[in-house]
Each structure stands twice: as structure tokens, then as C-alpha cells.
Symmetry: C2
Subunit: 764 residues, 2 copies
């Protein structure tokens, strides 16, 4: 809901503290704006204290402009002279639901601003004066700079001229920076004794913000008329024209910068996965000016009209490539990043330790995805490098146990599933079949990949679809599979392990592995799986039973004696990104990235069992896992990951969350299996004429459409029609929320998807 | 210079603002500590204002303990009641060099604390009370929390109970977090009207810090005796025992945590490049508690004695694997990280743009390493992924121009130099020869690698050493090379391009390439170089002339017509990490990571010329560069990189820097060639009996020692002897500073290296 209008320059005024002269300096700004022939709006969203002392009254009294040129308004007025959150509590008489929630509050500001924007055509100015200091609580009790953040208004900071004011001003500025605010100007009173402005001017000049110091107002006269006159005289002598002109310039620069970004980006960036020859015009570039929770603020140069903000709110419908566990710019993650950066920066990791990395390793191993099987955490930078590490681990463990040497080690392959994707470095690519577009010069697929049975919802019913080879085995065994009991049943593996379908899977896998051994293909040294869903491969939801049986069969074929309990058996098994042991079988190695840092910075980890670790353990340096990246286990990433895991745990483990949000727990299946999307919506969607099949799990919704032209949809196009910035893979459109996306937001997105698909507009 | 003593718990007290009751609450803490039978030290490093109002006086008056149990001291006293920086200016009477510099100030605090620690044997407490607010300037004008940061003392924040105090308290807290401080407690006065403590208690509980609110002191009585009595009465009724016990507990927890970290790390971490079988004991683990500028604060459990801090300052002698361009925990980088995190979090990048990435791309292309040749910036996560991208670019460009298909594309190789290292993902490894320890199961070296001529300083003289094959060509041509004019001459290529040695290089390279073509080896599709120095390969300083001739020969062999000007010729040339075109020949592709973010977070970029970019440009998606990582161009990293490049530019381009720091500019060579190490020291070092050769360039110093047992040195061992945490590669020890390492620090490290080598102690 960011607001930006070409003709209406808006600034919010924050104070470094209360009583630093916000209203006086804002009045001076209003007067300077009016003197420049601009129509001026002044908004005090919340006023506490007697009406005669109210700031909007003061503005009206001293704006020094004719009626109708300056508009001063207040949205919420309380008469008790206390902080807004206390005033709101008192007014609500203890009834919490009478307190205005943040979104209502922001909507009323937003409506006010839009009304102002549509009322004027000539360049106009709007000043929004906040209450107290930057972190003073607003009506709901959330502190102001958090509450106002979605509007992302450029900011003027009023500094503190008193003793201690240097500190107050710098700290307030830093709190603003921590929320990403643009600070366009700092104003404060001149004080000959403490001389704060003399210190602050070069301090902030170095940081790119101009400080303007002005004389303080005269002492308040006892006589009202005298007071009015002396105040008016004071304002007449203040000249903030240069400040207002500077603000105008900053506004113009911001617009010019945003206008120029698409062209400059097309000219200099080389985007990942993008065919630049298909980027037709500047309109095809998404200019992201800021982001907050689940929304991008996207600049749209077309919206230069009076009543439409040039910044559009767009739902980040793919959670920025599945990274956003907690939404964009989560304040707790920013603080975690700041904390670690301030304490360590980066420190080298080999044979060293620091709290963020150690605590993260312990959390992942003892309370996280490594619980009960993993003993070691190896950090790297992204999913692709973590998979390279996993492969090096598995191949070495296999080579050591099988006593392979030299070229035998180079010739190893992996066992996997078609449609897998593990990243774009060559090693990760080599663990995938060469199919579709994801290949390149040095890619040499090394291994064998099964065609998997998949799970989906078609015409309201849960379906397991077998690929031809499996269907043949099923037919031979007289097993007919199609519609299954329910989606809960699909994911409740304990009930399925002895089913006829399990037998079909088992026979098919065993037979294939026998054939592979006979045929003399590459020697298989690892089983590599993306549990449950192969995302990049086209949102393929594999029947979890098939993956489980695959793991079981591979392990059961091992003739090793039972004293190897705890060691890997058959082949080292690698899981790529699974946070919960859905398959009921632990891997020997697992890879975790993406949401590990809650969607802030790259960091990845490869977990390994002790039996894998021991394959590298000796007294010879050359036998170590000689892999590392400069920023291995960088403290910033580890600290953010710790904070993320803490917040996710707090969120997901809270009963209300499950009740209010995780709406589809698959009727009685283990509670780990849930979806944030409405089951009725998903079912209905799957019945639409344009839809082949639908699937949902956790935060993900994928929709396979019939449209033969599918896949040509450009993301920029999607957002324009939709305000939902989703992604497509072939003819599959996929949507993803964060864990704390508001239920109403999901409902809105569901409505949009429904409307688009009902009228065939999703891909056209 | 971090301070931590088992028996002496130290806390620094910061105020959310001035006049919030710091001294009163500190007095109460001192009384509670004394009541717990502890000896207590109170330090007010700087006091301004009349002596009778001084805080240490107040403590003495009201400590409520017998003489000798509570010690109150002040280090710098000024009589003018203004901020310390103003008081210092006034006292210095305008002479800037009379103002106490930060390191002198910190040393005097540190000495005081050490004296206190050595004076007591039973558990004691020390409270250090700062002045004003967290960011109030100290004597030198640096704000307090920056100035005190190297001491890294646990902190008590005194909150503000007045109107606006919620905001002031939270902002002060956030400023502390931005410097990584541990905030152990928040204290403030109770105020029945504003009720700040009611808001702040749950707020900070959620963030892990306990808030304690106490009654405010009685109003000041006019009569002195009456005032003394009422104040004393007030203190008698305050009970901060629970707070002091909590602080004791935090202190114990911190020590216990640090004590346990080596064992826990050995049990859970899998370190990069480390043979865990060689990690003999907990002493082999470096516990990094914090870091600042060029120093780690390393916990040493052995230092539990009275007079030695358990935290040792260790020079980060390898700049944390060559990442620290500006030193650890640089405040400007933390703020940049916070700013981008607060504004964007992470936002997906394909076909999108945001200011940090766009500005970074433009800076790199137009004013940075891509100037004059590169047109595109492709972001990824680390040097290894950026090299994979570079290889994909080069191989594709070659394949397209040569119209290769299918298996021909898979069989391509690269041309390079032995000893190269480009990262640990399989693609990057495949671009290196299989030699030494850096290999693994799937590594298949693809290409041909030259044995290079190298540059070094031996016995005080600059030497070029030719490998046997080259030496043979030289001998055939009657060219004798060994001692060269000077190191400046070596790097001044313009003067060497027509030299007899250049002719030897040219003949050798041409002949080898002819032989390779005839022999039917892999078809070479790219030339890959680490310009000037191959670090991981063993700090090999290649004769730059050889690399330049290699580029020239490869390009000259291209029979392509001259209308291809600007396009790559012969083979696409990749430079891995070069920031300045030392070789006088631009590459077609270059890779940059490590110092790109000033040493904070992973981020890498691959720059490419337009002719490389065009090889992927079409209307077919499958022909695009289908490579990407989830956090591609993450705003936090890009913003930090922009800040880094700005600071480096400011630093390095300033004349005083070159004069004061870059001490070796190779006598008349281009000013880009310099070293921060003293030329006389380097020369003398090379003459030591234990030293084979030495080399220095920029911030790097490498020392090859004769010791045959070399290479077995463990990093933990190095630090213990040395307080310099350096690294070794084979029998080479290397040292690296950041760009803003203080000249005195470098001098100290030089002295330590000298002493160690003179007495044979570097590797023993």
C-alpha cells in the first residue's frame, strides 16, 4: 500500500523524541510550501490532548496562507494528553476490540491521501505529522515506524537540540534505517550552548542527509494575543524555502530514478533464467521499490494520473522463489542481521566457532530436520552448493566402503527421479537427468532416474497417476489405481506401506534396479530425492509412498550385516529440502536452504549422519572434505536463521495458528500435513473447465491449466492483470504464501485466481 | 581488546537519553553488589561538570558500604557541564592534537579494568557508567557506542520513563544491537502517568531482555542535609538484588557457554577444509566471541587467572580468508545491511529490478572492474557459483560461434595455469588441473594447464623463476633470467612486452598450443586465469607478463576478420578476481566475490562483454542462460557492496592514504601497484635463514619457509604463539590486512613475524 504521486509530494515527519519541535517545524514547512504557491495538506493522524492545543489547530492558526490553500486534518482525536496507545485504551474502556487495528488505521490514512491526491491537479505537498518519537506506540500498541512502514513514505526527521539530543537524533535515525525508510531531511533547532547541529551536520552529510538548523521559537508569552503575535513573528523570520525546494528535488529525483530503472536494468543486468530476447519493453520489467510482509511495492509509470498511486501493491505470489517464510522485511530478521553484523561482521570458519553457527547447527541437528539421525552440519551458501557438498559426501562414503580407487570413483552415478532439480552448479546438475531446458555445455547427467507416480486433485477428487512403465506393472498385478480415498490417506504412509500399490512400487523398483545392475550402466553410489514435491521440475507432487518404497528397497538390498545399525545401508540417501520426515524414513544426508534464513540472505546447510562423517575422518588432510566457501557459516546468515527458526516454531506450534490458518489438515492425517489454502476453493478450482489438475501442500498451491498456449506468460504480464506476482512452469501456475500471510489475503488471492480461471484469463 | 574476567563481572551502563537516572540506578546496583558481599568498582571514564555534582562523588556518598569495599574512579574530568566532545575541545583550547584519541582513551579504561581485576581474588563487580545517551560523542567526537565497541562489554540500558521515553528506549536499544552489544538488563523508573515500563516490559521480554522498573527518587530538597537523608532513605528502599543476581547469572552463563563451545563445536560442526581427525583437543578450536576492525576477540579458557582477560585480541592475519576489505563489523556496512533488509528483505530477481542491484551493476560496469569492456552483470552467491556462470557463458559463446552440437559441446575444455583454484563446485573444479589435494569423486579436469613462471623476493632481490619447460626454451634462445631489475619493473608490463623474455613466453605458448591442437586433446573453449596471484594454489605470484602474453597469443591466433572488433577473439578469456586491469588486457568475462561485500555476506558477480551476452540472446527461452540461485542479487548484499565500494574508493583514492599506508609503490610503477607491508621489512625477511622467498602485493604478504615440516601448522597453534591468526598453504605462511588496518598494527605484526622467523618459531 505504498503511496507515491507525481503531483503530490508526501513526507511524514518523525521526531527524534517528543517535544523537539515537530509541529513548529512542520508549520514552517507548510508555510514555505504555501509560499511556493503549492496547495498544502497537513495530516495529524492521531491527536491526543485538548483540542485547543491540537497540532492541526496550530497549523490552521499559523499557516500564513489564505483559506482553502492549506488543509489541516486529524483522523483520530483523543482528549487525554498521553501516548496514543494509552489514549486508545482509555477510550476503548478496556474493550480490546474497540481499539482501532493497524490495517484500519493505515487504510484511513491511505484513503485520506488518495482523496487529497485526486482533489488537486497542480503540484501539491502533503505533510503527515506523527506523534511523539519514532518508536512511540500507535493506537494498537505497535510502534509508529513499524505501523507506518507499509505506506513507505519518505521521511523528515526532526532532531533533538537539547542535551543528549545528539544521541537521540542518531538513534532515531538508525531506527528509521532499520525499517528501510528514506530520510530526506533532518531539521532541528539551533542551540548555542549544546551545539548539537554543529555535530550532526557533518555526521549526516557523510551519510547523505542534509541537516538544517533553525532558531528556536520565543518563550511562550502569558498573554494569548501577545503569544499569537510573537509566534507569528517567529514564523515570518523562519525561512524553510531551501528545505522545501530540496524536498521537491528529492521527490523529482526519486520519480526520475524509478522512471529510468527499467531501461537501465534492461541495459546492464543479466537476469537469471530470463531470455533477454523476450523482454520486449520497459513494461516487462518489475521495478520493486520496497517490500513488506507479502507484498511488493511495484512502480508503475503508467499510474501517473491524479488518483492512482504510482506504487502498486502486488502480492508476491511465489514468495520470491519460495524463500519468504515470514514475509518481506520482517523487523525481527533485520534486527538479527544487524546484531550479528555489529558483533562479528564475518569471521572465518575452519576450525573456529561462533555462537550463531554453533547454535544453528545444534538446533538443526537436535530439534530440527536432523533430529534422531544427523550428527553433523556443514554450512555453505545456497541450495546448489549444499547439494554439491551432499554429493561429495555420498560419493566418498560409497567409494570408501566399496574400496574404489581412481577412475572407478569418477565413474559413479546417482539414482533419482525424473523432474528433479538440485541447483545450477555442474555437480548439482549432473545429479539430474538431462531433460527439458535445464542443461548446458558441461552438464553430463550421471545416473538413472525413475518416472514417478504423481498425486493431484482432479475434478474434486484426489488422484494418483502412474507413469506407463508403472501402470504396466500394476496391470500385470491386476491392480487398478486412480481415485484414492482422500489426500490425507495419500500422506498417511503407515496405512499404505502394506497396500497393493506399495507392492506394485516395490516390484517395479526392484526389477528396475536388477536390470540396471545387469546392464552395466554407471555404478550407482547415492539415492537423491526431493521429498514430496519437485518444484522447479514443474510442481510435480510425487506419491510419497513411491519415494518411501524407493528408500526402503535401496536399503533392503544391502547384504551388510546388522551390526551396521545406524550406518547408511545400500546407498547413502540424500534428501533435498525436507523439513519434516514426511516419508517416515530418515535420510543419511539432507540439504536445506531457501527458507532457512526466512528469506533474507543466502545460507545453506548439509546435514549428515555420523556414518557419512566417518568416511572422511582420518589423520590425513587429503582425506578431509576439502570444500568451503569464503563466507561459510557467516554469522549474519546464521543469526537470521536462528531467529527464523524461532519465529517459525512459535508461529506454527501455536494452536491458534493451526486453527485459524492451516485450513486443510487432510482430515485426520498427521498434523504436519496441512495447507493454508481453502480446501473448498481447491476442490472447486479443480473442477473448472480450464483446469487439468490442482494440488496444494503447506503454503503452496499449484494449478495445471489446459490452455495449450500456457507457459508463455511473462511474470510482468501476470502482475498487471492480477496484482499477484506469480510464476509459471510450463503449463503450471504456482502460488505460495508465507507462514504468516493473513487469512484475508489468501482469501483475496483465491478470489483473484478463481476469477481469472473462470474467465480463462490466467494465461491469456 | 575485549575484556572478560571470570571473577570480575563487568557491565557498562548506557542511557537511553541523558538525565534518565543512570547514576542513581548505578548507585543502586553498586549498593546491591556491595550488599551481596562483593567488592565493587565504579568507573566513570569521563565526567563533565562541577566536581561536587560528579557521579563518582555521588557513588562514594551513597554506596552504603564500608571504606575500601566500593571504589569509585574517574579517568577524565572536565569542569564545563557540556557533552564530553565539547568539553574536550574547550580544554584543548582549539588544538586538535591535545584531544585524547580513542585508542588512548580505551587503553586507559582497559588498564584500569585490568588493575581492578588483578587487585581482587573473590568475585567482584565493576560498573562502568557512560555519559549522556548511547550515541553521545566521546572525547574524540566518535559516538560512545562506537568508541567503546572494541571492549565489547555486556551492557545495562537505563530506559527513559518520561513522555517519549518508550521511543527513546527502543531506539537506544536498537543502536546498541547495531553494534552487536549484549544487553543484559534494562532498568528504568516507574511512572504512574506515562506507564512506559508497562509497555516496555513485554516488548523486551519478547526480545530476551528483562526490564526492571523502580520508583523514582524523591524531589531534591533545598537543604543539603535533608537531601542527603532523603536520598539515602530512597536507596535503602530500593532493592536491586534480583537484578544483580540476574547479572551474575548472565555472566556465569556467558562463561559457561564459552567454556562449552569447543566441545560442542567438535561434536556438531563439520568444518570446511578441516581434517577432523587432526583436531586433537578443545584447545585446537578458535572460539570467536566477537570481532572488530582487524581483530578477533578469542576466548581462551586457560586465561582464567586474575590478571589476564579470558578474551584475547588476535589479529585476523588472513583477513578471514581474504574477505575483510574494511575490517570486521564495520558500522557503515551494518547500517547498509539494515537499510536494505528493512526496505526489501529479499525480492526475487528474474525480470525484476531494485535500486541496490541496479546501482551495483552500473558501478561495476561503468566505474569498476568492468569499465571499458563489460556490458552485463550476472549476480550469484559466491566465487564458485560465479565461476560456474563464467564457464557456462564462455563455453556457450564458443559453442555458438563454432556451431557445435550435442556431444561436441560436452567435450570442451579450458586453457589455464597449474595451481589455479576457482572454487569447490564441480564445474569450477573441472576448470582446474587435478593436482594436489583439491580433488574429489566427480572432479574431471577438462583442459590444459601451463606450468607458470613465478615472481618472488629472494635474499633481498626480485626474482623471476622459470619452470623447466620454459627454462629450456629460454636456454635455446640464449636468454638468461633470474634477478630482475626491480619489482616495479616486473609489474610495468608496457616496458616488458617487447623484451626477450616476452619472446620466450610467446614462443613457448604458441608452440604448446600448436602441439595441443595436433595431439587431439579436448577442444579448448576458454582461457581461465587468476590474474597475478593464485592464492589457494599456494600463494603463487605468476609473472604478469606470462599471463598477458598468454591472453595476447590466444587472441592473435584467431583468424577472424577485424570487423569483430569488441567481440571475443580466439577464446573467451575469463579473469577470476581482478579489480584493476593489471595485465593491460581486458577479459571477456570476469568473476568477483570475496571483498565485494567488504567481508560481510556472500555475494558474487560475473561480468561479461556484450559479445558474450549476445550468444544467449534470442527469442527461445531454452537458449537463455538458465542459471540462478534463490537469493540472486539479494538487496542486503548489493547494498553492502555499494557501501563497500564507496568506502574503498574514498579510502584508496585519498592522497594521505597512499602516503601514509601504501608504503611500497614499487618505485615509479603505476600507482595501482602497491603494498601495505614495509619494503625494508620484506627485503630483510627474505634474507633470513629460515626463509626461501617472500612476496608482497597490496594487502598480502606471503612467506615461503625452508622448514621441511611446514604445512602441518594448525591455525589454533599459530594464534597461541603469535596472537596473529594466520594461515598456511603447504610451506607458505600468508598474512593479509584490510585496507584500513592501522600502520602501527601492521608494524606490530611485522615485528611478530620477524621474531618468530628469526628464532625459527613460525612453524614449530
Amino acid at each position: 500500500m505504498s503511496l507515491l504521486f507525481k503531483h503530490l509530494r508526501i513526507h511524514q515527519i518523525f521526531g527524534a523524541n517528543t517535544d523537539v519541535g515537530k509541529t513548529i517545524l512542520t508549520t514552517a514547512l507548510v508555510r514555505a510550501s504555501a509560499a511556493l504557491k503549492n496547495e498544502v495538506f497537513y495530516l495529524k493522524p492521531i491527536s491526543t490532548g485538548p483540542i485547543q492545543d491540537a497540532d492541526d489547530e496550530h497549523i490552521r492558526r499559523h499557516c500564513g496562507a489564505p483559506q482553502g490553500k492549506v488543509h489541516a486534518d486529524c483522523l483520530y482525536r483523543f482528549h487525554v494528553p498521553v501516548s496514543p496507545h494509552l489514549a486508545a485504551q482509555i477510550a476503548a474502556e478496556g474493550e480490546a476490540d474497540k481499539i482501532v487495528p493497524d490495517d484500519t488505521f493505515l487504510n484511513s490514512i491511505s484513503s485520506y491521501v488518495r482523496r487529497c491526491a485526486s482533489r488537486v491537479s497542480d503540484p501539491a505537498h502533503l505533510y503527515l505529522e506523527t506523534a511523539g518519537g519514532v518508536h512511540s506506540p500507535t493506537l494498537s500498541g505497535v510502534t509508529q515506524l513499524e505501523c507506518y512502514r507499509p505506506l513507505f513514505l519518505p521521511t523528515i526527521l526532526v532532531g533533538d537540540a537539547r542535551l543528549g539530543g545528539i544521541s537521540a537524533t542518531i538513534s532515531a535515525y538508525e531506527s528509521l534505517l532499520l525499517r528501510g525508510y528514506i530520510v530526506d531531511a533532518i531539521l532541528l533547532f539551533r542551540d548555542q550552548y549544546y551545539r548539537n547541529s554543529e555535530f550532526l551536520t557533518p555526521y549526516f552529510a557523510e551519510r547523505g542527509t542534509e541537516v538544517t538548523a533553525v532558531n528556536a521559537p520565543p518563550p511562550k508569552a502569558v498573554d494569548a494575543a501577545e503569544n499569537l503575535a510573537s509566534t507569528e513573528g517567529y514564523y515570518e523570520n523562519l525561512n524553510l524555502l531551501p528545505v522545501v525546494q530540496n524536498l521537491d528535488m528529492r521527490h523529482q529525483q526519486r520519480l526520475a530514478e524509478l522512471d529510468s530503472m527499467p531501461r537501465r536494468s534492461i541495459d546492464t543486468l543479466w537476469w537469471p533464467f530470463v531470455q533477454h530476447g523476450l523482454v520486449k519493453s520497459e513494461k516487462d520489467v518489475t521495478v520493486i521499490d520496497s517490500a513488506s510482509s507479502d507484498f511488493f511495492a511495484v512502480y508503475n509509470a503508467q499510474n501517473a494520473g491524479r488518483s492512482t498511486s504510482s506504487l502498486e501493491s502486488q502480492f508476491d505470489g511465489s514468495a520470491s522463489w519460495w524463500t519468504q517464510a515470514l514475509g518481506h522485511a520482517h523487523p525481527a530478521l533485520t534486527l538479527a542481521a544487524a546484531r550479528a553484523s555489529g558483533r562479528y561482521g564475518h569471521v572465518m570458519f575452519p576450525q573456529a566457532t561462533h555462537a550463531p553457527a554453533l547454535l544453528l547447527a545444534e538446533r538443526l541437528l537436535h530439534d530440527g530436520p536432523g533430529k534422531d539421525w544427523a550428527s553433523r552440519a556443514f554450512f555453505s551458501d545456497d541450495g546448489s552448493t549444499a547439494m554439491e557438498v551432499a554429493l561429495k559426501m555420498a560419493l566418498r562414503a560409497f567409494s570408501v566402503r566399496e574400496k574404489l580407487e581412481g577412475t572407478e570413483r569418477k565413474a559413479l552415478g546417482v539414482l533419482g527421479i525424473k523432474g528433479s532439480y538440485h541447483g545450477d552448479t555442474i555437480g548439482a546438475m549432473d545429479a539430474c537427468a538431462e531433460e527439458g531446458v535445464f542443461t548446458c555445455e558441461w552438464h553430463n547427467a550421471k545416473g538413472y532416474w525413475f518416472d514417478p507416480p504423481t498425486v493431484s486433485i482432479q475434478e474434486g477428487r484426489a488422484i494418483v497417476t502412474l507413469p506407463p512403465a508403472l501402470a504396466a506393472v500394476a496391470a500385470k498385478n491386476d491392480y487398478r489405481v486412480n481415485t484414492v480415498n482422500s489426500m490425507s490417506w495419500v500422506y498417511d504412509l503407515t496405512g499404505r506401506l502394506d497396500s497393493p500399490l506399495a507392492q506394485v512400487y516395490r516390484e517395479y523398483i526392484s526389477h528396475t534396479l536388477d536390470e540396471l545392475e545387469r546392464s552395466g550402466g554407471p555404478r550407482l553410489a547415492a539415492l537423491v530425492l526431493e521429498p514430496l514435491v519437485m518444484g522447479a521440475g514443474g510442481m510435480i507432487f510425487v506419491d510419497p509412498l513411491f519415494q518411501r518404497i524407493l528408500v526402503d528397497v535401496v536399503r533392503e538390498r544391502d547384504p551388510a550385516p546388522s551390526d551396521l545399525t545406524g550406518d547408511w545401508r545400500g546407498l547413502p540417501v540424500i534428501y533435498d529440502e525436507s523439513t519434516i520426515p514426511f516419508l517416515g524414513a530418515a535420510p543419511d544426508i539432507s540439504v536445506h536452504a531457501k527458507i532457512l534464513t526466512g528469506g533474507l540472505v543466502p545460507l545453506a546447510v548439509t546435514l549428515a549422519s555420523d556414518s557419512i562423517f566417518r568416511a572422511f575422518y582420518s589423520t590425513k588432510k587429503a582425506e578431509a572434505l576439502l570444500h568451503g566457501h569464503s563466507y561459510t557459516a557467516h554469522p549474519l546468515g546464521c543469526e537470521v536463521a536462528n531467529e527464523t527458526l524461532k519465529l517459525i516454531e512459535r508461529e506454527v506450534r501455536s494452536e491458534p495458528w493451526v486453527a485459524a490458518k492451516a485450513r486443510w489438515n487432510f482430515d485426520g492425517a498427521p498434523s504436519a500435513v496441512w495447507s493454508l489454502w481453502d480446501p473448498r476453493f481447491v476442490q472447486a478450482l479443480s473442477c473448472l473447465q480450464n483446469v487439468t489438475e490442482v494440488m496444494t501442500l503447506g503454503t503452496v498451491l499449484s494449478v495445471k491449466v489446459k490452455d495449450v498456449q500456457a507457459g508463455r506468460c511473462q511474470s510482468s504480464w501476470c502482475q498487471l492483470t492480477f496484482s499477484v506476482h506469480f510464476r509459471t512452469l510450463g503449463n503450471v501456475a504456482y502460488f505460495m504464501t508465507s507462514l504468516n500471510t493473513a487469512p484475508e489475503t489468501i482469501r483475496t488471492v483465491e478470489d483473484k485466481i478463481w476469477k481469472a480461471l473462470e474467465t480463462k484469463h490466467l494465461f491469456e
